[in-house]
């Protein structure tokens, strides 16, 4: 080989090698000088882990501040870290065989949901038994990434009381996580889903702690780097009285089971609310059917959940469901009539046994006979429809609506629970909408045209008489468009009639209220006219018993400004309801305290096997002692038949428990016959 050429080639080779090294060193310089921070962060994310330590949730105490209703207990949880291993699905499968309540798919799904936070343990199951934990420990080596931990979960020392009020806690959902993302929630965190747990979440939650650890590529901790201790959540002292709550629930359950034996009262559900008339504090809020809140601790099977939701056990009927109040509105109508000076307390009518308005059918007294002279006291005492229909027509729909709202009916009261319903008060507009919806399509088309035509005319109308004349013409023309007798009846019903006003005065028709509203209205009558804000929490203290917030002074929604004399008249009427001759006497006569009450029976029609069958909800409102009221109760029993017979025994037991008396069961087997005489089983 020629020496010179060889040297030249060697030089070229050297340059090539140099170029290679220059590229490598250049890239290294880029990575190790200019990208140090980025890669340092990435390296830290690889091996530094914050393992959150859940804070024990705040506890809930009964009214006395000592008895725990909701507390915490430690349980085992099983978590899984996704290690980026191909065998994660094998581990999941393995784990699923050891955890009977969860399938492989569910585990993988949970892992998948947390893709954003890889290498963070994903909680697979809470409330795992010690036996299962032992089994998992035995197979630990075959299941890399499985972590067993101890953490606090909810415990209910008083058993299954007040389930719908307390609510429950479950793992946060994707949507909730999104909504609360700036509040420091992680995908493994629990959150109050319902009831007080939900409303007071920010207090109950506490501040989670964390342990910083260094982990290896398998996610195994290799070094403890420090710990910040969790701060337990704040405790709630409730207005609920543990004993009264228990009594209310048992009374509801027993009464509904009793009613179920009678085909006329196929009751399946009911609710009752007990309030302190002087503060608005809720002493008891009970529902039937109910469930054991312990179900929501740990692993909740879908079947079990469906089972309780299907029967409506999770529904807090006391605030979520609205009912026709029946005759329980009569004291309100009486108060409105007195206050607007439409009548004097001595105002007396001659009752032929029915009320008749405007060419419609008669509204009968439930007694179905002429009652003769009836004054306000007797009207309340014996729940005389004719008397209150007369008052209703005297004062009119607007006044009745105004007073209903004044006493909190048909409005949201702002109780510290989710899902509170506002209820509805029937208006002419609503009645128009309801009945017009039954019309045929063609008639509806015609109606729309007429509406357009007459709305313009009505806008230009100047006098009231003119408006009335136009409205009459509208209905007359609509009547012509009707294509059946049935439709003409609907059109007749589309107008607000005196009949509706009369109906409103006895709590029938489409005005519906929650049991809580009935209780608050009752307590406003009892306490002399103040509508307090209903609430369930008395005070909030931190885990060291330091006061965080106290709801000492009751919160007033409004003063109804109804004069104390007028309310005294109404209270006297209600007192007589529980006296001999009153509709609630049979249910309440044996109590050791004077009670004031009002019964209500709200009829409704149900289609059963092609036939229209009429059933009634049984409602009772009461307060006691009659002369110096402390508590007010409202009870609604669906399909309860009558106020006294359906709801009476529940109210009885609540009052007996509060004031010291014998419960229905301790007394005697309930004598249905005796009650029939006095109950409003017909109207």
């Amino acid at each position: 080989m020629e020496q010179k050429a060889s040297k030249k080639r060697a030089k070229v080779l050297t340059s090539l090698v140099f170029l290679v090294f220059a590229v490598l060193v250049g890239r290294l310089a880029y990575l190790q000088f200019f990208q140090v921070e980025k890669f340092t962060t990435l390296a830290k994310q690889n091996h530094m882990r914050l393992i959150p330590i859940e804070a024990p949730r705040g506890e809930m105490y009964s009214r006395d501040g000592e008895t725990k209703i909701v507390s915490n207990k430690p349980v085992y949880t099983v978590s899984l870290v996704y290690l980026g291993l191909e065998n994660t699905s094998q581990v999941a499968q393995r784990l699923a065989t050891l955890l009977p309540q969860i399938t492989t798919e569910e585990i993988l799904q949970k892992l998948d949901q947390q893709k954003l936070r890889l290498y963070q343990p994903v909680k697979i199951a809470a409330g795992v038994s010690f036996e299962t934990v032992q089994k998992i420990e035995e197979h630990r080596l075959e299941m890399p990434g499985v972590i067993i931990d101890v953490e606090p979960v909810r415990d209910y020392p008083q058993g299954d009381i007040a389930a719908q009020v307390l609510g429950y806690v479950r793992q946060i959902s994707k949507e909730e996580l999104e909504a609360n993302k700036d509040k420091g929630y992680g995908p493994n965190d629990e959150i109050g889903k319902e009831g007080l747990e939900r409303v007071y979440e920010e207090y109950l939650r506490g501040t989670p702690g964390a342990r910083q650890v260094e982990v290896d590529a398998q996610g195994r901790p290799v070094r403890d780097l420090g710990i910040s201790k969790p701060v337990p959540g704040d405790n709630l002292t409730l207005t609920l009285d543990r004993k009264l709550q228990r009594t209310a629930e048992e009374a509801l359950a027993k009464q509904i089971e009793r009613l179920q034996k009678d085909p006329d009262t196929p009751s399946k559900a009911g609710a009752t609310v007990v309030v302190d008339v002087n503060t608005g504090g809720i002493l008891a809020m009970a529902n039937y059917p109910t469930y054991d809140p312990d179900l929501f601790v740990g692993i909740l099977s879908t079947e079990k959940y469906n089972e309780i939701t299907k029967i409506g056990a999770t529904s807090n009927r006391a605030i979520e469901k609205i009912y026709n109040p029946g005759s329980t509105v009569k004291p309100l109508v009486g108060a409105a009539a007195l206050e607007t000076e439409a009548i004097e307390p001595e105002f007396t009518i001659y009752d032929p046994g029915y009320f008749k308005a405007e060419g419609t059918q008669k509204i009968w007294d439930w007694q179905r006979r002429a009652l003769g002279q009836v004054d306000l006291y007797r009207g309340i005492r014996e729940s005389v429809n004719t008397y209150f229909c007369t008052l209703g027509v005297k004062i009119g729909r607007e006044v009745m609506t105004e007073y209903a709202k004044l006493f909190g009916l048909g409005t949201k009261l702002g109780v510290d629970l989710p899902r509170e319903e506002s209820g509805t008060i029937l208006t002419p507009e609503r009645k128009y909408d309801i009945w017009s919806s039954y019309l045929s399509e063609e008639t509806k088309q015609e109606m729309k045209k007429l509406e357009a035509k007459y709305n313009e005319l009505l806008d230009n109308a100047e006098t009231k008489a003119e408006r009335k004349r136009l409205q009459d013409r509208f209905f007359a023309e609509l009547n012509l468009a009707a294509n059946s007798q049935k439709e003409r009846e609907y059109i007749w019903e589309m107008e607000w009639r005196l009949y509706d006003t009369a109906y409103m005065a006895i709590g029938q028709g489409d005005s519906k209220y929650t049991p809580l509203q009935l209780a608050m209205y009752t307590s406003a009558i009892a306490n002399g006219g103040t509508l307090y804000k209903p609430h369930l929490v008395k005070k909030i203290t931190d885990y060291q018993d330091k006061l965080i917030k106290e709801f000492s002074g009751p919160e007033v929604i409004r003063d109804t400004n109804v004069s104390s004399e007028n309310l005294a008249v109404i209270r006297e009427g209600m007192r007589q309801v529980a006296e001999a001759g009153g509709t609630a006497y049979g249910a309440l006569y044996d109590l050791p305290v004077q009670v004031a009450a009002k019964t209500g029976t709200a009829e409704f029609n149900v289609y059963e096997e092609g036939k229209v069958v009429t059933y009634s909800d049984g409602i009772m409102i009461a307060f006691a002692p009659a002369d110096n009221p402390e508590i007010a109760v409202a009870t609604v029993i669906e399909y309860g038949g009558s106020g006294s017979g359906g709801a009476g025994p529940v109210v009885h037991d609540i009052l007996a428990s509060y004031f010291g008396g014998k419960l229905v069961d301790e007394k005697w087997v309930y004598p249905a016959e005796e009650n029939d005489v006095l109950s409003e089983n017909q109207r």
Binding site: V17, L28, Q32, N46, I51
Partner: protein
Amino acid sequence: MTFHRVLRGVDYILLLTVLMVIAFSLIAIASATHVTTPIHVGEETELLFGVLNLSAMDIVIKQMIWTVLGVFVMGVVLFFNYEDWPKYTKALYIINVLMLLAVIFIGKTALGAQRWIAVGPFVLQPSEFAKVIIIVTFANFLANREGRLRTIKELLPAFAFIGFPMLLILMQPDLGTSLVFIAIMFGMLFMAGANPKVLGGIIGGGGLLGFGWLFAYFQNPDKVWIPLHDYQVDRLTIFLNPFRDPLGDGYHIIQSQIAIGSGGLYGKGIFSGSQNQLNFLPEQHTDFIFSVVGEELGFIGTVAVLALFFIILYRGIMIAAQAKDTFGSLLATGVVSMIVFHVLVNVGMTIGIMPVTGLPLPLFSYGGSSMMTNMIAIGILLNVCARRKKLVF
């Protein structure tokens, strides 16, 4: 040639540099195999860092034994005058082909490829030795054709000479090693006096064809045939965007760059790299040993390693330039080509500019076959050096 003369002719700078690289590698391997014992969270556990366990120590000791054996083999190679080798080249070529065939038919399968054959208690990786054998036989082949390498036609026999064993390696499949063959071939052809323009044209054209083929394949993977499995294509191209599969194919590349990048200028200290010690870095004592250096010793460490390699390669090229004859010159060139390609591909892989092909870092990655091959290669360099015309260094 006397024993004394041989020793006097040895390039001690090269030898010393090689030993320094190996010493450096032993420290890196010790750190890479260093076991961090998991603790139980929640218990007050003593820091268990810094405990070398036995099996980890085994690997360092094994590599030391390989080093000793390697130095011995290097000595043996050094003392058999390379000028006598041409007469054995035919036999060597045949043995090489037979070994590679043996891998295909009786080889052990691991990681989807057959690369090993068992010889008694040893497991050999013939493709490693094939590299050295091909350098020796091809050097002889080219030396005999000196001056007849001007045109493509004249180059064809050379391609066939390399192509056959290369194909056998590609069948294992071992893409990395077959690419080493190409590097060796072009390096030696260049030094043997082949027309640089023709070589450049072939490399450029081949490269373009390869990229075009891959591109067409990506455009229409169902219709375009490619002599690679899907997983091979994925592994070859993942380095372009490792975050396409951060926990799968891209994991190695990402973790390696995190390791090197987080090392910074000075590194985190030997035995103190979190990526390495906590095993986020995969295969950290073999293919990704350079990342350990990058993380724990930083830019200073990586440049030091590269500088040592540069010295070896520079001395290798000088030896090629000063060789007594064409055969010697080509032997040295082959060794240089092999080592530089390994360094480029291995280090390039750890810093994300080269695909992951499984080529070890010569003299540095843990592994017996690789150590033997490279020590034989160094032995060849020293051999050629010791018999050069005049003392120039």
